[in-house]
Subunit: 138 residues, 2 copies
DNA sequence: ACCAAGTTTGGACTTTGTCCAGAACAATAT
DNA sequence: ATATTGTTCTGGACAAAGTCCAAACTTGGT
């Protein structure tokens, strides 16, 4: 459960009609829409919303840390509202479906000191690649 | 050492002048050029090479499995000739520098059966994010 | 030398995303 | 209620990254 609106309201973020529909459209589990999909779905509820506003809002949400940008495998960025629980992604090589998965352990711990090249490491992204059940039969 | 040309010759890949310069330009350790950088450098040696050819060649190399596409954090894709040794990437959040790092263990093993959603998993990409020594002083 | 197959070219096109100036919209003060 | 001020939204122009395509060119085999 990600309750994005809840969190935004709690932060005192100015909630306009446009921002509300963007947040509503993004909310949920295993949701990973592209900016264009967000624009299309937001447009169903608020026909006049502009692409620029969708992009601006998504970027603000990312900056706030309430939404994650994920797994551009060459195509458009996708946005994941589930930014509060550490998780990784499992992506179907055929159809592009994304599932959230939850690691047992912290992958940062697996990186030896000698392999850090003096970097100050702040995060890690793990993307598992595979073929989903639907695409295996094809 | 990645010896890309060596490997390509061994596979009997038709080695034209254009393909040769692309492969030469890519060769090395910790090399992660964008398609545009490859085009620019290839152009120094073979001025008439076209962008389309560079893209075609890079995509073929990726398909062959001799080169990896990496870490488009919103910017252009980068190409890594070191596709034969399992390794992961460490990316500077400030300047975008990429270093290759070598994990101790196979991260796929860390994904529980119940978290696989029926996928047939074939690979994993791990990207560590941080700030490199040069950018820490800034 | 000729043919067939594979490669390269350059330009047009598509997709994804940013930028900007002006219009519209809150929220607050008068 | 009205004016003021700062923020947000809009739509269109723009830019970057990459794909597509038909025509021209190479290459290897006979």
């Amino acid at each position: 459960m990600s309750d994005l609106l809840e969190r935004l309201r709690a932060r005192g973020w100015r909630l306009t009609a446009q921002r509300r529909v963007v947040a509503e459209v993004l909310n949920g589990d295993h949701v990973h829409l592209t900016a264009d999909e967000v624009h299309a779905r937001a447009g169903e509820r608020l026909p006049e919303i502009s692409r620029a506003t969708v992009y601006n809002t998504l970027n603000e949400l990312v900056t706030l840390g309430e939404v994650l940008e994920v797994g551009t495998d060459g195509r458009a960025k996708r946005y994941d509202p589930n930014a509060r629980t550490a998780h990784q992604h499992l992506v179907c090589r055929v159809c592009g479906t994304i599932r959230d998965v939850h690691p047992d352990c912290d992958p940062i711990a697996g990186l030896a000191e000698t392999e850090r090249f003096g970097f100050d490491i702040s995060g890690v992204e793990v993307t598992f690649r595979g073929v989903c059940p639907d695409c295996q039969s094809g």
